[in-house]
């Protein structure tokens, strides 16, 4: 019982009451209870801190998820927007078919491929069925093939003579008739209205009631010999009704007219076919004017539909095949050929415009689809000889994606890891863009990509340089960043594009500046350090400290085991050790950092640092100072010269002349010499 640990609390059936009871039972005296309480308290604190840690750890993940979700949300919003647009298109389509153009209706209903018309038809049927379910004793609404509901609503019927309310009505206006139903007051369920009567649209007339005593917002329906007056709840509702009545009337009239025309046109061909048999193709196919196949005659409408449905590839295919077949011998002299070709050309323009818009980053372009989403438009545009525009837009998209990806990298922790990540992301998206570009565009466009890529690199570098080369930055971290970038760039070379030169040219001036700054810093520090030096050995206090110091020096290439005296003392002054560290670091890092064309800057820096140190020593007569001076000349100088040669392959001329000036013997092989010198010195 006394041991309180996590497991006990973590059990799902943990019952705090019972736990406390048992605890109270087993514990003897207040003292023990107090201890237990404290234990629990510490446990609670630990848990709380662990929880905090966990929260922090998952925090970034949480934020990322949240942004992802918001992105998704935006995406969904866009989608729903698109869908609603499509819906309006559909409704206008169905509306167009309502408007009494019977030719299109029959064609659409015959054409099984026209799914949209079918859908609209089904919707219409469902609507009518729902209405007939609602109305008791309803007339058969489906008996008329294209009956459509135009308007419905609750109205109050008014007695025309007495101006008093008669009954509540629910009125349906169809395109061919008006159906009046009254409310069933005491019934719930599907049927809510009682059918009263219906009037054919041709027999009724709607009248706006301006003035009817105290009855406001009313309209009349004249159906000889009846006159029915209805009151609406508001003026807008009334206006709606009247407008819908007018629409119904107009549709009706148009339908009648078209029927008449149809009749006339049906009569005409018959008579004409008797007069000129050449027109009846089936009987006498005339070689002069072949009949266009239906798909060719309707090609523009079909193209419209395909464009609206965003089947761009299909649109293109249809265009091409239509143009091809219109250019065959069969249709070469067809009277409609020029017209159709012209219209196809118009559609082509529309398509191109849409595709260009599709590719336009500034116009609603979503990065989520990736570069692949732009594949189809680009391919089609290429076929239309719009390669240059497509290429330009595509690269703009690439720039956008690169920007988005780079922006997505979080600046957290050290600058090195950030730069590394950015480099990875950048070159990854660059390689994505490159592979996509190669598959999409012909070879002669690759130069555009190269120009684009180097420009992107320059942009990226200008951003990164600002962050890497901050004033007072450590050379080590600069080196780390730069080398990671160079590594990435080298990897990217495998894709066949070498951007190293561009990168180095971007890095050149900041690196030079950083080196110079570092040199100045070292020079400044050295003066104070040397003048402040007490010229005594350094006390490292502990053995561990000594070991650490030795290890550090060994990393720089100096083996100083011989300089340890009395176990914890280093037989060198502090400024000497500091100088050795600094100058060797400059050379070591500098050699990795600079490219060939910057060697002179590095040489100059090293030379300046060394020279000023040596000059400082000349005036100092203290024996210990001279000893340290000797160490610098005999140990540090040869080490640096050797390392330099090993790294670059030739001597550092400037340093060599300096060494000669101060009488250092630098005869090869140096390695043994150095050990000899150090041992000599010590002995």
């Amino acid at each position: 019982m006394s041991d309180i640990n996590m497991e006990k609390f973590a059990v799902p059936e943990f019952n705090p009451e019972r736990f406390v009871k048992e605890l109270a039972k087993s514990c003897v005296g207040g003292e023990e209870l107090h201890q237990q309480k404290e234990k629990i308290q510490t446990l609670a604190e630990e848990t709380a801190s662990a929880l905090k840690k966990n929260v922090y750890e998952n925090y970034m993940q949480f934020i990322e998820t949240a942004t992802e979700i918001s992105h998704l949300e935006a995406e969904m919003y866009k989608l729903s927007h698109l869908l609603s647009e499509q819906r309006t298109v559909l409704t206008t389509l169905s509306h167009a078919s309502i408007l009494g153009n019977e030719n299109t209706i029959s064609r659409e209903s015959l054409d099984n491929h026209d799914v949209e018309a079918e859908k609209a038809e089904e919707q219409r049927r469902n609507k009518l069925i729902i209405i007939s379910e609602k109305v008791e004793g309803c007339m058969n609404l489906l008996d008329v093939p294209d009956r459509v509901l135009l308007h419905e609503g609750d109205l109050l019927e008014i007695d025309a003579d007495e101006n008093t309310a008669l009954q509540r009505m629910h009125v349906y206006l169809f395109n061919d008739c008006l159906m009046l139903t009254s409310w069933i007051s005491n019934r719930r369920g599907a049927t809510r209205y009682q059918f009263q009567c219906s009037y054919p649209i041709s027999s009724l007339a709607a009248v706006n009631v301006h003035d009817l005593g105290n009855v406001k917002q009313a309209f009349k329906v004249l159906v000889f010999p009846d006159t029915r007056v209805f009151q609406c709840n508001s003026l807008t509702i009334k206006k709606d009704w009247l407008d819908k009545f007018e629409l119904a009337k107009k549709m009706h009239i148009e339908k009648e007219n078209s029927k008449q025309k149809k009749k006339e046109s049906l009569d005409k061909p018959k008579s004409e076919s008797l007069d000129s048999p050449s027109l009846s193709v089936e009987k006498l196919p005339s070689p002069q004017i072949p009949v266009l196949p239906e798909w060719l005659a309707d090609v523009t409408e079909e193209l419209d539909v395909l464009i609206v449905e965003r089947h761009f590839q299909k649109t293109y295919d249809l265009m091409v095949s239509a143009q091809k077949s219109l250019n065959t011998e069969e249709f070469k002299n067809h009277p409609q050929r020029a017209d159709i070709l012209k219209r196809i050309e118009q559609k082509q323009k529309v398509l191109i415009e849409i595709l260009l818009k599709e590719l336009d980053v500034t116009h609603n372009w979503s990065p989520r689809g990736g570069l692949r989403s732009s594949r189809h438009p680009v391919i089609i545009l290429n076929k239309f000889n719009m390669t240059s525009q497509a290429c330009e837009l595509f690269l703009a998209i690439c720039s956008h994606t690169v920007k988005v990806h780079v922006k997505g990298v979080q600046l957290e922790g050290s600058i090195n890891s950030y730069v590394k990540q950015v480099g990875e992301v950048f070159f990854c998206s660059l390689s994505d863009a490159l592979t996509e570009f190669i598959t999409l565009f012909p070879k002669n466009k690759i130069s555009a990509f190269i120009v684009w890529a180097s420009m992107q690199l320059r942009i990226l570098m200008s951003q990164l340089i600002k962050q890497i080369f901050t004033p007072q930055c450590a050379l080590e971290s600069v080196l780390e960043c730069v080398s990671s970038l160079r590594e990435q760039c080298l990897l990217f070379c495998e894709f066949g594009l070498d951007l190293r030169f561009q990168m180095d040219s971007c890095l050149r001036s900041p690196i030079i500046k950083a080196l110079k700054e570092y040199k100045e810093k070292v020079l400044d520090c050295m003066k104070t350090k040397v003048s402040d030096d007490k010229w005594t050995p350094i006390n490292m206090h502990t053995k561990a400290g000594v070991n650490k110091f030795l290890l550090q020096m060994e990393n720089l290439g100096l083996i100083l085991a011989k300089y340890i005296i009395n176990e914890t003392w280093v037989d060198l002054s502090s400024s000497t050790v500091w100088f050795a560290q600094s100058v060797i670091t400059v050379q070591k890092i500098g050699l990795k950092l600079v490219t060939k064309d910057m060697m002179d800057v590095l040489d100059e820096s090293i030379h300046a640092i060394f020279k000023s140190r040596l000059m400082l020593s000349i005036g100092n007569d203290s024996s210990y100072a001279q000893k340290n001076f000797k160490f610098i000349l005999d140990t540090v100088m040869p080490l640096m010269l050797r390392c330099y040669k090993e790294e670059v392959g030739y001597d550092n001329e400037k340093l060599v002349t300096l060494a000669k000036k101060f009488g250092v013997n630098i005869a090869p092989p140096k390695k043994s010499n150095i050990t000899k010198y150090t041992s000599n010195e010590y002995l």
Binding site: V209, H210, D211, G213, L222
Partner: protein, 229 residues
């Protein structure tokens, strides 16, 4: 005993008398709404822009509306006192535009009297009255339907393009009264409506032809007078 009987009888008699009185009163009560003023349904017809709505609004509300907005179909109702009797007039103001020609039948069917309006500045509208007349006669199938030919915009005398004689001639030919009105100045507006309502009311009371012939000439005279002025 006897007296008691007579008392009873008398009380029952009184009660019955009271009941009877009540019945009479009830009958009177129920009669009151029945004597609601008779409703006359007038329809304004004529080409677009001749001033049908302007006439209607002037008659209804004593106001002249300058802005022109094509009417679709508007209805108005007003109580007027005609020869000391209150009547109700229901005016249906119809669309003059040609687009509505096909729907007109349905409106005309409900009319009991027609004000056929044209503009004296617009011969085309005068020509169109012929068509309206024919349509009305076809729909109503009644030669004696109350009908009034109205030449509107009499205030624009200087722009007159339909000669007065032609108007009168046509009215004579149709055997209908002719009135010249101005919706702007309210000239003859009431007269035009009241003349038509009077016709309708006579027709309804069955007095039009037979029982009150002496009134007829005087009416004609009145109409003539107003046409001259």
């Amino acid at each position: 005993m006897f007296s008691a009987l007579t008392y009873q009888l008398s009380t029952t008699f009184l009660e019955e008398q009271k009941k009877c009185e009540g019945l009479v009163a009830a009958a009177n009560m129920s009669k009151k709404p029945a004597t609601q003023p008779t409703l006359h349904k007038v329809i304004m017809v004529g080409s677009g822009g001749v001033g049908k709505s302007a006439l209607t609004l002037q008659f209804m509300y004593d106001e002249f509306v300058e802005d022109y907005e094509p009417t679709k179909a508007d209805s108005y109702r007003k109580k007027v006192v005609l020869d000391g009797e209150e009547v109700q007039i229901d005016i249906l103001d119809t669309a003059g535009q040609e687009d509505y020609a096909a729907i007109r039948d349905n409106y005309f069917r409900s009319g009991e009297g027609f004000l056929c309006v044209f503009s004296i500045t617009e011969p085309e509208s005068f020509d169109a009255t012929q068509e309206f007349r024919e349509q009305i006669l076809r729909v109503k199938n009644d030669e004696n339907i109350p009908f009034l030919l109205v030449g509107n915009k009499s205030d624009l005398a200087d722009k007159r393009r339909v000669p007065l004689d032609a108007c009168r001639e046509r009215a004579q030919h149709w055997q209908v009264p002719y009135v010249e009105t101005s919706a702007k100045t309210r000239d003859n507006v009431d007269k035009a409506f009241l003349t038509l309502i009077r016709q309708m009311s006579w027709l309804k009371q069955g007095l039009a032809a037979a029982e009150e012939p002496p009134d007829q000439p005087s009416r004609r005279c009145a109409v003539r007078c107003c046409t001259i002025c």
